[in-house]
Structure formats: structure tokens, C-alpha cells
């Protein structure tokens, strides 16, 4: 089985083959022998072949939390948490073409991360914005949270006003 896995800024191609009691996992062309045990629905104990030795002895205690999109996980490794997207081989390539998906570049719909109140709207339709520039401030959990632009662009439309209450996922404004 071969997957395309996006983690950090890179998409890795990973293939997994069962060889008797162990798995052979090939990542970026290098094959690792892995002895994998599921310790719960969402946690695994992995013994991974580390470069030099032949025996799979590097102990990796990995846990997983499903994200809303099927195939997306938070992976927990020794106190670190990494967002990972697992797809069938070729998927990301296709996504790129139609400009959607994790690494696409289409218009950015800025959604409310949670139910809250719009405290301030910092831009108006037509404004050009830079990456990480503040767009709108939402108050929730006793804190004011500034939503920023993912990249340079132009504000196409603003769909909320100050003082307005919004639900999670509500479209606040669109940057193109």
C-alpha cells in the first residue's frame, strides 16, 4: 500500500508492506523494518529499525487523534504533536491541479474558529492584505483572537460586522 503523506512543508511518499510478523515501511526510498502493535484504537507501539542495526528496536510510542477530514491526524510523539495528512498515492498531485486541498492556493475563506463575538473588523472589501496581516478579531474563551491572512491577497468580501455573534465555521470574509 502506498500513501502520500503531508507533514510540515513536505509531502512524503510512504509504502507499507506486510512481511510476516513485521512491516516493511519505505519512506523516501529507504526501507525500515517495523514491528507494530496496536495498544488502543488510537495508539501504537512501534519498534523501528534504526539506521545502523538490523533489528527493529527503536521504541516509538505513537498516538493519533482524528481530524475532521478523513485521513488527517494529529500524531503524538514524545510530547510533540504533528499534523499529518494521509492520502492515496497521487491525490495531492491532483489536488494541486485543481488548486484545492492542503497545499492549494485558491481564495481563502476566513471562517470563525469557534462560536464567538466579532470585536473588530480590521479590513474592508477591496483592501490588499499581506500574509499574517490581521483581518478580524473574534472574542471567545475570554480572549480576543485575531484571525490573520494566510498569504498576500485582496479582500473580496466582508460578511460580518462588529458586535455580531457568529457560529463555528461561519464565513467571516474572503481573501483572494
Amino acid at each position: 500500500m502506498t500513501y502520500e503523506i503531508a507533514v510540515g512543508d513536505r509531502i512524503r511518499t510512504v509504502s507499507v508492506v506486510r512481511k510476516g510478523a513485521v512491516l516493511h515501511v519505505t519512506l523516501d526510498g529507504q526501507t525500515h523494518v517495523v514491528d507494530a502493535r496496536r495498544v488502543s484504537e488510537s495508539a501504537m507501539s512501534l519498534l523501528v529499525q534504526n539506521g545502523k542495526g538490523e533489528a527493529p528496536v527503536q521504541s516509538i510510542d505513537a498516538a493519533f487523534a482524528a481530524r475532521p477530514t478523513a485521513g488527517d491526524f494529529d500524531v503524538y510523539l514524545a510530547g510533540r504533536s504533528l499534523a499529518v495528512q494521509v492520502r492515496q498515492a497521487g491525490t495531492f498531485g491532483r489536488q494541486k491541479k485543481d488548486g484545492a486541498g492542503a497545499h492549494g492556493s485558491g481564495p481563502q475563506r476566513v471562517l470563525a474558529p469557534m462560536p464567538g463575538k466579532i470585536v473588530r473588523v480590521l479590513v474592508k472589501a477591496g483592501d490588499t492584505v499581506k500574509a499574517r496581516q490581521g483581518l478580524v478579531v473574534v472574542e471567545a474563551m475570554k480572549m480576543e483572537n485575531e484571525l490573520r491572512a494566510a498569504r498576500d491577497g485582496r479582500v473580496r468580501e466582508v460578511q460580518v460586522g462588529e458586535g455580531q455573534s457568529v457560529d463555528a465555521g461561519a464565513v467571516l470574509l474572503v481573501v483572494e
Binding site: 501504537m44 504533536s81 474558529p113
Partner: protein
């Protein structure tokens, strides 16, 4: 005292319940709609509903809570911190209802609750304060007038809510031009957080440390100070890492700061637990900042270095007991302790709150580790309240030992399904300046440079491991959709965040 009502929620309610258990005292929890299945409800002897999820309609409703206290036959009330903990009306309402309020007198709360009155009290006790306005500036005061006052104090200066606390309604102002905007922001925040838009100005001490002194005062005239807490590691003026003792405080300085703190408390006839916060200047001079007339979030580090259970002593003092603790030993740390506040925030997305269902939870165990938490596997972190879900405390022979144990504990700690600040603390603990104790209150903002981007610097090796693990997980996962492969509805809010901040 037979039965105590805990007028709070989450981890601090759980903490107080445990102290009551340790004393054989019954516990009454209160809960809002979204907290019906919260841990403090599950662990208490009784649990009474107090209304809808919004704090104003439940945990901040004095009448409802007093009413429950009476109905349940509680004879005392512990306010925890936050919510009504520093509300003099609540303390008075308890007294009027014949309930023992486990905290200071309403008068003390009123006096020290006003930042400006508190400054007067400090000055009266011979303790120096940060130069600033002595009178509150109501939200009627014109920008022009405020600018005039600011001129006298000098820039850069701090703009603070008179009723403030926890960094809310607080802004740093570098130059006159920034004042009006900051004023507007501070007032709106203060108004929504405390229902009072009044602010005051203070000169900004450059590169100060935030050092605070825990105090206990009984009803027999005794006030005892404890070894200091170092609370300079803050984000948005919110403490995130605290330790005790402080590397910056010598035995001599400790004597001076603790006696200054005790003097202020004695001056106002303070009782029960309280904390006096100081700014410690690079030159070793210190200024009274404010007094918190309640238990502090970071109280456990003091407990671990002195062996004193502060919540238990709050209760003993409230029922009239004499402070029998040895004053000398309270100033002699028996260990070094550190606390990390675990927040339901995403450090890699500008610390955006991350409420939702906790799909999985692994709490660190073993020697020198304490976790005061309000979370459990399957539990919800609601959107309505402060996002702190747990306080992780470690201690050891010395600072290095405590830090090593914290690294170990953070590596064992897993909170799955929501994003937390756990990775953020790993990053702080590995910072060379932090390790060397070279920091002041601007540490985090300086390091983060306004955004969390540095945090994303994860070695490719870990990305490879994550990719490998995820592939194996998907490859070996049982065919049927498992409970946590199907995202709970609440997770959808992350989709919004992920997209908004992509």
C-alpha cells in the same frame, strides 16, 4: 465545618474538592449546562445546577450560588480563583447569608481590588510602587486628559484596568500616538471582563521580573510570607510558566521582599490566602504591583517547595484556627518546583483557543510529578471559560532536576483531540536563555516575535517518524470506523481555524 460549596469549575474546583476530602469535609459542586459531566461534578459529593453555560448566567450569579449553598446545607463557600473569587459583593453576600467565605473580608477585597487604593496601601506600608496615576481614569475621561496624565508619567507606559487581573484590559503604550487605540482596546476588554472600564497608567519598568510573595493570614493577627515565586514567563501578560524559588532572588532580597509583602498585608488587616506581586528591576529594586486577594493558579509550586497544603490552610484559617506554621521554614525552600499551565490553545496557530472533546488522555506519572487537572478522556473543553485545562507541576533537588522532570512529564503527557500548549512548553524548556535563567517578563514575546512560527521548527526526523507512524496506523487500522476515527461534531470548528490560519 461540615460541608463546603465550591463556587467554581474545572481544575481548581477539583483541587479544592481534594483538599476537602483530605480533611473529611463534604463537598457541594455547582455546574452550568455545559459542565453537567465535568470532572468537578463527578468527584463532588453533591452537584447542583446554576444555569446556562455563559458565566454571567451561572458561575457569576451570586444569588443562585448563595441559594444553592443554603439549600444544600453548606456552611462555607470556597470561591477558587477567577469568577467570583475577588468579588466583594459575593464575599459580603456569603457573610449576610451566614456562610463562611473562605477568603479575605469583603473590605480587604474592596480595598486591594482597586489597583489605585492598593497602591496607597503599599505606600502607607513603606513599600515603593511603580510611578503612575493615583486616581482611576473613568471611561468618561477624554483622550486629551489621559494623554496629559501620560505626559507626566512618561513613555513607555502600561495602561491597566483598575478592576483588572490576569492581564485583561492591559496594554503597553510606547508613544503618545498609540495611546488612543490602546485606551479603546483596554477599556472594551476591561468592560467585558470586569464590567468596569476604568483604567490607570503606570510607568513601564524595562526588562523587569515578575516576582510574587504568597501570604497566609489568620484571624489572630498572624501574617506569614512564603518563599517567592518567579512568574516572569508570560504571554499577553498571562503567566504560563512559574517556578520557586527564583534564580534572581538572594536570601537577603527574599527577606526584604517577604517582609515588605507581610507589611502591606498586616497594614490592611489581611486574612486567609493572598499574594503580593512585585516588579523586580534589573538593579535589584522592587516595586509593589498589585495584591491578589485569593488563591493563585501557581499555588502548587509553593506547596511543593514548602510542604504546606495552602488550600487546606485556607479552610483551617476560615474556621478560626491559628497559623501554627514555622515562619522560618516557609522561607526555606526544601526543593525547586516549576509549573506549566496547560491551555487548550494551539501554539502553532497564534494560540487560538482549541475547545472540543478530549479523544485521548495520558497523564504523566512517577516521582516529582503532580498534575492538577479538570480534564478526563472523553470530556469536553467548553468554549465558554478560561482555556486552562491543567496545571503540571514538577519538583526536584535543584532547578535542573525540576526542569528535567518537567521535560520527562511533558514527553509523557498526551491530550488528544484538542490542541494544547504542551509542545510550547517543551520549546521553552529547551531555550538556552530560559535554562540559564536569563529572562524577564518580555521573554516570550521577544522569542516568539509576535507569532508562533518558531515553534514549527521541528526536526525533519520527527516529521519522518510521524509520517511512518501515520502510514502504519492507517495500514493496520481495523476496517470498521472506530470511535475516534470518526471526528466528533465539535471538531469541525478546527476546520474553520485550520483554513482561516492556513
Amino acid at each position: 465545618m461540615k460541608k463546603i460549596l465550591i463556587a467554581n469549575r474545572g481544575e481548581i474546583a477539583v483541587r479544592v474538592i481534594r483538599a476537602c476530602r483530605d480533611m473529611g469535609i463534604g463537598t457541594v459542586a455547582v455546574y452550568s449546562e455545559c459542565d453537567r459531566a465535568a470532572l468537578h461534578v463527578r468527584l463532588a459529593d453533591e452537584a447542583w445546577p446554576v444555569g446556562p453555560s455563559a458565566p454571567r448566567e451561572s458561575y457569576l450569579c451570586i444569588d443562585k450560588i448563595i441559594d444553592v449553598a443554603k439549600q444544600s446545607g453548606a456552611d462555607a463557600v470556597h470561591p477558587g480563583y477567577g469568577f467570583l473569587a475577588e468579588n466583594e459583593d459575593f464575599a459580603a453576600a456569603c457573610r449576610d447569608a451566614g456562610l463562611i467565605f473562605i477568603g479575605p473580608s469583603p473590605e480587604a477585597i474592596t480595598l486591594m481590588g482597586s489597583k489605585t487604593a492598593a497602591r496607597q496601601a503599599a505606600i502607607k506600608a513603606g513599600v515603593s510602587v511603580v510611578p503612575g496615576t493615583d486616581e482611576p481614569l473613568s471611561d468618561q475621561t477624554s483622550d486629551a486628559d489621559v494623554l496629559a496624565v501620560a505626559e507626566r508619567i512618561g513613555y513607555p507606559l502600561m495602561l491597566k484596568a483598575v478592576a483588572g487581573g490576569g492581564g485583561k484590559g492591559m496594554r503597553m503604550v510606547a508613544a503618545p500616538a498609540d495611546l488612543p487605540g490602546a485606551l479603546r482596546a483596554a477599556r472594551s476588554e476591561a468592560l467585558s471582563a470586569f464590567g468596569d472600564g476604568a483604567v490607570y497608567l503606570e510607568r513601564r519598568i524595562m526588562a523587569p521580573r515578575h516576582i510574587e510573595i504568597q501570604l497566609l493570614g489568620d484571624h489572630h493577627g498572624t501574617v506569614l510570607p512564603f518563599v517567592e515565586r518567579e512568574c516572569s514567563i508570560q504571554r499577553r501578560h498571562q503567566k504560563v510558566v512559574e517556578e520557586s524559588p527564583s534564580l534572581a532572588v538572594s536570601t537577603d532580597l527574599r527577606r526584604r521582599m517577604t517582609s515588605a509583602a507581610a507589611a502591606v498585608a498586616r497594614g490592611v488587616g489581611y486574612t486567609n490566602a493572598g499574594t503580593i506581586e512585585f516588579l523586580l528591576d534589573a538593579d535589584g529594586s522592587f516595586y509593589f504591583l498589585e495584591m491578589n486577594t485569593r488563591l493563585q493558579v501557581e499555588h502548587p509550586i509553593t506547596e511543593m517547595v514548602t510542604g504546606v497544603d495552602l488550600v487546606q490552610w485556607q479552610i483551617r484559617i476560615a474556621r478560626g484556627e491559628k497559623l501554627t506554621l514555622d515562619a522560618e521554614s516557609l522561607l526555606t525552600p526544601k526543593a525547586h518546583a516549576i509549573e506549566c499551565r496547560i491551555y487548550a490553545e494551539d501554539p502553532e496557530n497564534g494560540f487560538m483557543p482549541s475547545p472540543g472533546r478530549i479523544q485521548g488522555l495520558r497523564v504523566p506519572q512517577g516521582p516529582g510529578v503532580r498534575d492538577d487537572s479538570g480534564a478526563y478522556e472523553g470530556g469536553e473543553v467548553p468554549i465558554f471559560y478560561d482555556p486552562m485545562i491543567s496545571k503540571l507541576i514538577t519538583w526536584g533537588d535543584d532547578r535542573d532536576h525540576a526542569l528535567q522532570r518537567m521535560r520527562r512529564a511533558l514527553a509523557e503527557y498526551e491530550v488528544r483531540g484538542i490542541r494544547t500548549t504542551i509542545p510550547f512548553f517543551k520549546w521553552i524548556l529547551d531555550d538556552e536563555d530560559f535554562k540559564a535563567g536569563r529572562f524577564d517578563t518580555s521573554f516570550i514575546d521577544r522569542k516568539l516575535g509576535g507569532n508562533g512560527s518558531q515553534l514549527q521548527a521541528i526536526e525533519p526526523a520527527h516529521e519522518d517518524l510521524a509520517a511512518l507512524a501515520a502510514a502504519v496506523h492507517v495500514f493496520t487500522r481495523p476496517a470498521r470506523r472506530t470511535s475516534d476515527a470518526t471526528p466528533p461534531p465539535s471538531r469541525w470548528k478546527d476546520a474553520g481555524r485550520a483554513e482561516a490560519l492556513r
